[in-house]
């Protein structure tokens, strides 16, 4: 199958990061003595353009079929060298990287002798492992040009309409009887004072009118199988249940305001929540002369250790509407930290103070006390307790994850964080993707967000989804496990042990692993009693070779 093994070893100086501690020439001389090594080369910066083009040139000239690079961490630089091997014409997985920077020169600066011995061992183990590397191809599968959006609040609908606009069919599921989410109950939206119902009404109408968007209300997702490009989703809407194939899924299930049960003796009549105040403002039946709002009710406390981002702005908006609705009404806002970030929010915060809304700070360990008709609070400015007249007390409660977010996370096999909000792939650089490819998220389901943020997160998620839908096939790298039927004794161990429930028993009693679904962890490979599962990416032979090369027989360990 393969002609004779010809391994190329490239040892990197990495400026002085490696060369400052390790003797590179000695490593090269040593590497040259190792079995199957056809060529050794050192260069100052292997990862720079000069280094990679050098590798390409040498691989072609010397006809190398394996490449070992001794430099820094593969976690960041492996893709670069894999691409370079590909361009040089060999399979990108005929490449093994050994870390002699973070794992050797940087951490053993003080005893160079042992660091040198360790580097030689690490290179020997990498060369041994490289001799058993196997080619890995990619395989592609068809992409179903259809998306599913779960949750039809402002985020879900914006996303669904955006994907439909890109020319793809969308299935839009809504748990409630009517679409619209939180906005249906709200009065006005800051800062541009659009009436909420008008805004959401337009979106609902557009969604219903657009024939590419199929809306299902009182719907629930029953089961999701398959993977990116072809998810098979079983869902029910009312009594009927459906099964459909979609390429991508967007989670926009939103969140709900916390019901502040027995906090500041909340009774829903005289002590209400912001959303109840909005409902009254919407109906216009409000005549309270003096209103006291309390921020961070049930938020930024050890049990709920997050700031819900938008309740300050909701309070400020409502305080302005209170001022307009009731002539010379007195409005107090008792806060811990006002989250009026950015340009618009700060401007609105300023406007509220100009309109005479009084902001008083309180500390978590000395909260205000709500009594009949008044609220007592220690005023830091005056250094003593004051009592504020309160016909109405409004509690700003945080947005919490909707109750069924955890069940949905089990069905979709995607994680939720400790506050039950969905956990994105990377908090900074991929905030709209899940770690599982092909599933995206936006809006309050990820974390509380203003309408503006929910809108651009929804458009962003639509963009991420369109990347997949705009191609009719999707490539997957073959770093997955595969069962060798003749060795398999059909014992179901792999079926039981796989955390993703991927292996299935096929009709002739042998286990089978669907390449598209396998995550490549190798748990089944190590558990299978018949050792019948091949794992080219980290095969038993490779690991055993590394173990065998742990200690070179002729080199006595204790020389120092």
């Amino acid at each position: 199958m393969e002609t004779e093994l010809r391994i190329g070893v490239f040892v990197c100086h990495c400026g002085i990061n490696i060369a400052g501690v390790l003797n590179i020439e000695d490593l090269c001389r040593y590497a040259d003595t190792l079995p199957n090594v056809a060529m050794v080369q050192a260069n100052v910066f292997t990862c720079a353009q000069k280094g990679t083009s050098e590798i390409e040139k040498v691989v072609k000239e010397q006809g190398l079929n394996r490449v070992v690079v001794a430099a820094c961490t593969p976690r960041t630089h492996e893709p670069i060298f894999r691409a370079c091997c590909q361009e040089a014409g060999i399979n990108p997985y005929f490449f093994e990287m050994v870390n002699i920077r973070e794992h050797c020169s940087w951490v053993h600066r003080h005893n160079k002798v042992y660091a040198q011995a360790k580097a030689r061992d690490l290179i020997r183990m990498a060369v041994a492992r490289a001799s058993f590397l196997e080619p890995i191809g990619t395989f592609s599968s068809r992409v179903e040009p259809k998306a599913m959006v779960i949750g039809a609040g402002v985020a879900g609908m914006t996303c669904a309409l955006a994907i439909a606009d890109q020319g793809f069919e969308v299935i839009l599921l809504e748990k409630e009887v009517r679409m619209g989410g939180l906005l249906r109950h709200l009065h006005k939206i800051a800062p541009c004072d659009v009436t909420a119902s008008k805004l959401i009404g337009e979106k609902v109408a557009a969604a219903e009118k657009d024939d590419r968007v199929k809306c299902f209300t009182s719907a629930r997702v029953e089961e999701v199988t398959g993977c990116i490009g072809n998810y098979v989703v079983k869902f029910s809407s009312g009594q009927e249940s459906y099964t459909d194939k979609v390429g991508v899924i967007v989670v926009a299930t939103g969140g709900v305001p916390l019901e502040p049960v027995d906090l500041f003796n909340y009774d829903g009549k005289r002590v209400i929540t912001q959303s109840q105040l909005e409902a009254r403002l919407k109906k216009g039946d409000i005549e309270a002369k003096s209103v006291v709002m309390i921020q961070c009710v049930g938020a930024r406390i050890p049990e709920r250790n997050y700031c819900s981002r938008i309740c300050c702005m909701v309070a400020i908006k409502n305080s302005l509407h209170m001022k307009k609705a009731v002539k010379d009404a007195k409005v107090f806002v008792l806060f811990r930290d006002i989250q009026a970030y950015g340009v618009e929010n700060e401007a609105l915060f300023l406007k509220a103070r100009e309109e005479g809304v009084r902001f008083i700070r309180y500390r978590l360990d000395n909260p205000p006390v709500v009594e009949d008709g008044r609220v007592r609070i220690y005023h830091p400015g005056m250094g003593k307790e004051v009592s504020l007249p309160a016909d109405l007390v409004v509690l700003s409660t945080p947005i919490v994850a909707s109750s069924d977010s955890e069940d949905l996370s089990k069905v979709l096999k995607v994680p939720v964080d400790e506050n039950k909000f969905f956990l994105e792939a990377h908090p900074k650089l991929s905030p709209l993707d899940f770690a599982t490819s092909g599933i995206y998220l936006c809006g309050n389901a990820r974390f509380p967000a203003t309408v503006r943020e929910a809108t651009y997160q929804a458009l962003g998620a639509a963009s991420r989804a369109s990347i997949i839908l705009s191609h009719d096939t999707i490539e997957r790298v073959g770093t997955v496990a595969a069962v060798e039927a003749e060795l398999c004794s059909g014992c179901f161990v792999c079926v039981k042990v796989c955390p993703y429930k991927v292996p299935r028993m096929n009709e002739n009693g042998k286990a089978e692993i669907e390449p598209m679904q396998c995550q490549g962890c190798g748990i089944c490979v190590a558990e299978c009693p018949a050792e019948a599962i091949r794992f080219r990416y980290a095969s038993d032979e490779q690991i055993t070779a590394a173990c065998n090369a742990l200690h070179a027989p002729q080199e006595i360990r204790s020389e120092n």
Binding site: S489, C491, K496, A530, E531, A532
Partner: protein, 218 residues
């Protein structure tokens, strides 16, 4: 492990022979366990300064001579002893086929079990030869009742647990609930039945499958 080490003490070339059938399914004698045992023996002997050479192989089904013969013939003179990781039947098949190599059992075959969960197997069938599961709602009193009573509970159970041990449910109470569920409670009212225990070692002959002409039955 101690036992095995003493067993193979005097041999220098050991063939560790796994079986691809039941002992693989219950993770006792598959290719992985063969490798583990072989490594452990080598490590132990190396410690004692008496290095040993180990050979590792796995038969498809060690209780089937046709599957054992080719392997053992191929490795004919490379081993002095066979350390078999099959069930008792497998060990004896090897012993019969290759009398001049003794076949040593690496496993103590316990029971024909049922996998309750991955890694947990329980004894449910004693191969008593006279199955009563049809009238006990699928619960076998022979193995699940401590005293293997055939006709009802002994009465010593408390809160549904057998007097023998707290975490062992009383088989007959389970049988009662099962039959109630299947509303076959009348089975309990049948007159007591005597168990027709078979003679050991049992042997089954299927003339229709055997070689040679059929013996005439007139």
């Amino acid at each position: 492990m101690e036992e095995i080490l003493t067993m193979v003490e005097e041999f220098d070339r050991i063939l560790v022979l796994g079986c691809g059938g039941c002992t693989t399914v219950c993770c006792a004698g598959g290719a992985r366990e063969v490798e583990t045992l072989a490594t452990l023996i080598r490590m132990d002997r190396k410690q004692k300064g008496k290095p040993v050479e180990t050979l590792e192989a796995v038969t498809e089904l060690q209780c089937e001579p046709e599957s054992v013969k080719p392997i053992l013939e191929k490795l004919a003179n490379q081993y002095d002893v066979v350390l078999s990781m099959a069930c008792g039947a497998g060990v004896q098949t090897v012993a019969q086929l290759f009398p001049n190599h003794n076949a040593l059992p690496a496993l103590n075959t316990l029971f024909t079990g049922r996998a309750e969960e991955h890694g947990v197997w329980t004894e449910n069938c004693l191969a008593c030869g006279d199955c009563v599961l049809w009238r006990t709602g699928g619960i076998c009193p022979v193995t699940r009742c401590a005293k293997s009573l055939m006709n009802g509970a002994c009465g010593g159970a408390s809160e549904g647990k057998c007097e023998v041990s707290k975490d062992r449910p009383c088989a007959w109470q389970e049988i009662y609930h099962a039959l109630k569920r299947l509303d076959k409670l009348h089975y309990l009212k049948q007159e007591p039945q005597v168990k027709d225990w078979p003679v050991h070692p049992g042997k089954v002959v299927r003339e229709d499958l055997r070689e040679g002409e059929a013996t005439r039955v007139d």
